[in-house]
């Protein structure tokens, strides 16, 4: 979607299924063969965090912003492989989302503070690789970290 409003009907109309608010519509499934089976469920979890009440954690926790839920789902679609294990998904007090994988040899946590602010902590106990960083535009290290996650059973 763009911010343009030129009155035009495209001959190649893309049909979007109608859905209730806060449900997930999957549009343009161009790489469905590489999509992890858990992706829809995780996207719905992200969407559900938008409905959290203020102070949901008793410490002033804010509901997740819609754009963060959207960005997290999009990020997983870009980064996760078909064989990647499912993350645990948790909301953060500031209205972000955190994705976590805790596997015997690998520990990875990705924090999505907003659509453009990502950070992660990664540890591979086998190789000794360990880092904590914020991402401005290059996600190569995240791609590498997710690639090291063992395939889901």
């Amino acid at each position: 979607m763009t911010a343009t409003l030129a009155p035009i009907e495209f001959l190649s109309f893309r049909d979007l299924r109608k859905a209730d608010s806060h449900s997930v519509i999957r549009a343009e499934a161009t790489l469905s063969e590489q999509r992890p089976a858990w992706l829809d469920a995780v996207a719905r979890t992200c969407a559900s965090f938008v409905e959290l009440e203020s102070n949901w954690d008793s410490y002033g926790g804010r509901p997740v912003h819609e754009s963060v839920a959207q960005a997290t789902s999009d990020l997983l679609l870009k980064l996760a492989r078909a064989s990647s294990p499912a993350p645990t998904v948790v909301p953060t007090a500031r209205g972000g989302i955190q994705l976590e994988w805790h596997i015997p040899s690998i520990d990875l946590e990705i924090a999505v503070a907003s659509a453009s602010r990502l950070s992660a902590v990664f540890e591979n106990k086998t190789t000794g690789e360990h880092w904590e960083r914020e991402f401005q535009s290059d996600l190569s290290d995240l791609v590498s970290a997710i690639g090291q996650l063992p395939a889901a059973r």
């Binding site: 001959l11 449900s23 519509i25 754009s67 659509a115």
Partner: protein, 282 residues
């Protein structure tokens, strides 16, 4: 002190291609920023009333646009947004329209966009510099509004420039013949088995590089379309990326880079025959 974007003027590169009558029908300059949760519908309404109503007296509601961020380092990433929260999930986007319906200012919790669009056969393209000046003014006013009412900060994370071009064709049957329009398209199949395409869509994505480092992308998309009863090609170019800093000057600098890439990209991807038709000056 709120920095005035108007003080930073665009410098048009001398070798930037220019056309007498380019087929552009819409130009949009936009800034995505970190969400301002306090900027709810009532505050957007107040901004319209206090700052925008005089120039943009009409207000239209539209679904909010999801964020669109240019990331790098992801091999073979799918293009576009693949998941969409349901229509009720996002706060709305307010579209403020001027009397002529050619000028728009769009505002949501994480984005502000200024559009110029052609309506009917009138109103020639006012040129980028004019739209830039308007946008600079509106962003300054918006930033000052946020500060005045302690709503939060405008922290830009992406800037984008979009040009939409309409290239009419004589007949809908010619919508598969893009070779006369697009320079890289030969239209030659390896054998004669396939009949001529009914329609063709093309998309390409190019990195914007500064000092060898990617700062954004230029997206080029060609689609067939109808406007009223007229068949046409719709050629859309969008330059999007992260500004080098948070200031209005940084935002303007990226918009200028984006516009430069769009004009050069448009010239590069379209055929020289079409350049003659559009009255290329430089």
């Amino acid at each position: 002190m709120v920095e005035s974007m108007r003080q930073v003027t665009a410098a048009r590169a001398k070798d930037l291609p220019e056309f007498e009558h380019p087929p552009v029908v819409e130009v949009a300059l936009g800034v995505q920023f970190e969400p301002v949760p306090k900027l709810d519908g009532s505050w957007i309404a107040r901004f319209w009333f206090e700052e925008a109503r005089e120039q943009f007296p009409e207000w239209i509601e539209a679904p909010a646009l999801p964020p669109s961020i240019e990331w790098f380092g992801i091999p073979g990433q799918p293009r576009g947004v693949m998941f969409r929260l349901g229509p009720g999930a996002f706060a709305n986007r307010a579209v403020f329209q001027d009397d002529s319906q050619t000028g728009l200012l769009q505002l949501q919790q994480d984005r502000i966009v200024r559009n110029w669009r052609k309506v009917g056969t009138g109103n020639a393209y006012p040129r980028y510099e004019s739209i830039r000046t308007s946008f600079a003014s509106e962003v300054s006013r918006f930033r000052a509004f946020l500060t005045k009412h302690q709503l939060g900060e405008l922290v830009p994370n992406q800037c984008e420039v979009t040009y939409v071009n309409h290239i009419p064709v004589d007949d809908v049957s010619k919508l598969g013949q893009i070779g006369t329009l697009l320079a890289p398209w030969s239209g030659k199949f390896s054998d004669g088995w396939l009949n001529a395409p009914e329609t063709v869509e093309v998309a390409s994505h190019h990195r914007l590089l500064i000092d060898g480092s990617p700062v954004g992308r230029l997206h080029i998309a060609l689609q067939p379309g109808y406007g009223g009863t007229e068949a046409m090609f719709v050629l859309t170019l969008t330059a999007r990326g992260r500004p080098s800093g948070p200031t209005d000057a940084d935002v303007l600098a990226f918009l200028d880079i984006g516009r430069d890439h769009i004009v050069r990209g448009f010239t590069s991807v379209t055929s020289t025959d079409m350049h003659v038709k559009w009255g290329r000056r430089t």
